[in-house]
Symmetry: C2
Subunit: 335 residues, 2 copies
């Protein structure tokens, strides 16, 4: 029997790592997820990851052959195959592709998670047909995939788009990158948790959040309490939207994108975050851009944009439709 | 006699407008300048500008024929031929090319001044051979020309690169764009003048600058007093370099450029500005980029990078080496 090809897409997040097996038409077939532990070493993480990929494939993949693995990860350098000192994982600098190749004899590629999400949105999501857009991932950290004139922005060393590490507050919150005041210490799941505790100390409003410890508090809990009208949780979303809206307004002054697509755990809160973000974005936007730039919530859930983007890249590499060093979106499109 | 072709390059600044006649090899032959008055209407300015171009050409240009005019201007939209509500000139939205064509029957093009400077640096200056760099013009305002992977960044409507209008201080200084806290209200000739008066109110240090009115004070005077050791002027350069260094560090987090080239009136102060800018830039840079990005002072003087860039664009248009809508640097290079 001629088995159909299937690609494993992996999205490594700071909290969860999601695995999705993608068919030839870009359709999600089956998948799984494992926890990411920030303190675990990369080689131990890889044992768990490869076990899970094998387990899931064995259970559901009997009618398929595994054609390749596309990995989306923070601080990934797709030209080197490395993950370079990710802020939210204590891995240091690792050649992730070489490490994975000890377990799998198939083509493997790695790509920055936000870039993968941008490719996913471009090929299958809200950015179809767009030439200037930015995908911002709001998970444990904040990542950005920037598309300019149909090309992914890689920059001089393939590490462009570190919007999460632009400093927005002098002497602000301590960041895992070793500096202070980075955008992602305010705008991310981790950021909104910090904001909650900041607000609890500033205000006397009654709030059930006073019964939850810092380590217990999740992004979902913040959403849940905001939906019940908790004044601290609502204020936290307003503040997060304000910081994000201003940051995006500055970004648009530089890039004049047609849309900003938000994606990731924090965005699951929906309008709680999107509405204040839109409000402060328009308020802080340069006059010539007002009313012209869309802020959109990705329609993909749970890492799926990044998984689809990473799997689509490896598919193109396998099919040699495009050389891996030239896989700009426009190059891909011209095939 | 077969007269050689000459191109007029014009750099419209908020204070001075510089005219340079450029020969076929990109060599500056002769030129002039007129004052730009922020309160003068565009049609009156054009009368003075065209008179000056004619006058200078008549005096020195007898061995040449005028092949075209390339104009560099703030807020210029090269695809539309318009200048769109420049912050520092009260012109509103004007079709500058059409207005100029009433006076000259030669090809005329217009391009954003910072983009023109980026092209000038790329073709004749410090950016030769670079693929990722940013030119920042520090004159009356702050402009930026951003080159990504060999292409000028135009963005969705040709108005990308408004770095001067990224907001860096909430409820900060009032900006001509109608908002507050924009980068150019701190980092520009106008910005450092405002800083001087802010510092004069904060500190009791003796300073000869206390004898000069706001309207009298020029960027050159600030430089001159700093060179004589005036503590307020020195502090003003340190502060300006700090704000600029931080802004560039954030820019590099997004773009990972290999060099930032500074250009314009404020940069004539040399190390007074460049040294603190470098210091605060490195201090605020994301770890992965430290020590890898150059901050350079343009070697061109008095608008010359923008004049060379604007004249080189019109030359290419005349020679039909490249269609005007596709004049990305890489397209130009491929000829």
């Amino acid at each position: 029997m001629n088995k159909k090809r299937i690609i494993a897409g992996v999205d490594i997040g700071g909290t969860n790592t999601v695995i999705g097996f993608i068919g030839e038409d870009g359709d999600y077939l089956f998948g799984s997820s494992i926890l990411t532990s920030p303190d675990e070493e990369a080689n131990k993480f890889i044992v768990r990851l490869t076990n899970e990929i094998n387990l899931v494939f064995k259970e559901y993949g009997e009618n398929y052959h595994l054609g390749g693995i596309g990995i989306a990860a923070p601080s990934a350098n797709q030209f080197q195959g490395t993950i370079e000192s990710p802020s939210n994982l204590k891995w240091g600098n690792v050649n992730f592709i070489n490490m994975m190749k000890e377990y799998f004899d198939v083509p493997i590629s790695i790509v920055n998670d936000a870039n993968a999400a941008a490719i996913g949105e471009y090929e299958y999501g809200l950015a179809k047909g767009m030439k200037n857009f930015i995908v911002i991932t709001l998970g444990t950290g904040l990542g950005s995939g920037i598309v300019v004139d149909g090309n992914l922005l890689y920059g001089e060393n393939g590490l462009a788009g570190e919007l999460g590490h632009t400093i927005i507050e002098q002497d602000g919150r301590m960041c895992n990158c070793g500096r202070t005041g980075c955008l992602e210490t305010y705008v991310s799941v981790t950021g909104i948790r910090r904001t909650i505790f900041d607000l609890l100390t500033r205000y006397n409003y009654p709030s059930e959040l006073r019964d939850i410890s810092f380590n217990q508090l999740t992004g979902e809990m913040v959403t849940e309490h905001a939906k019940k009208g908790d004044p601290i949780a609502l204020k936290a979303f307003d503040f997060t939207g304000e910081v994000l809206g201003k940051a995006i307004a500055n970004l648009v002054a530089c890039f004049t994108s047609e849309a900003i697509i938000l994606f990731g755990g924090l965005v699951e809160s929906g309008d709680l975050l999107i509405e204040p973000t839109k409000f402060y974005f328009e308020k802080n936007l340069l006059g010539i851009h007002k009313g012209k730039v869309k802020i959109l919530k990705s329609k993909f859930e749970n890492g799926m944009a990044a998984i689809l983007g990473a799997s689509s890249l490896i598919t193109k590499e396998i099919d040699k439709k495009v050389s891996f060093k030239l896989n700009h979106l426009s190059a891909v499109e011209k095939q």
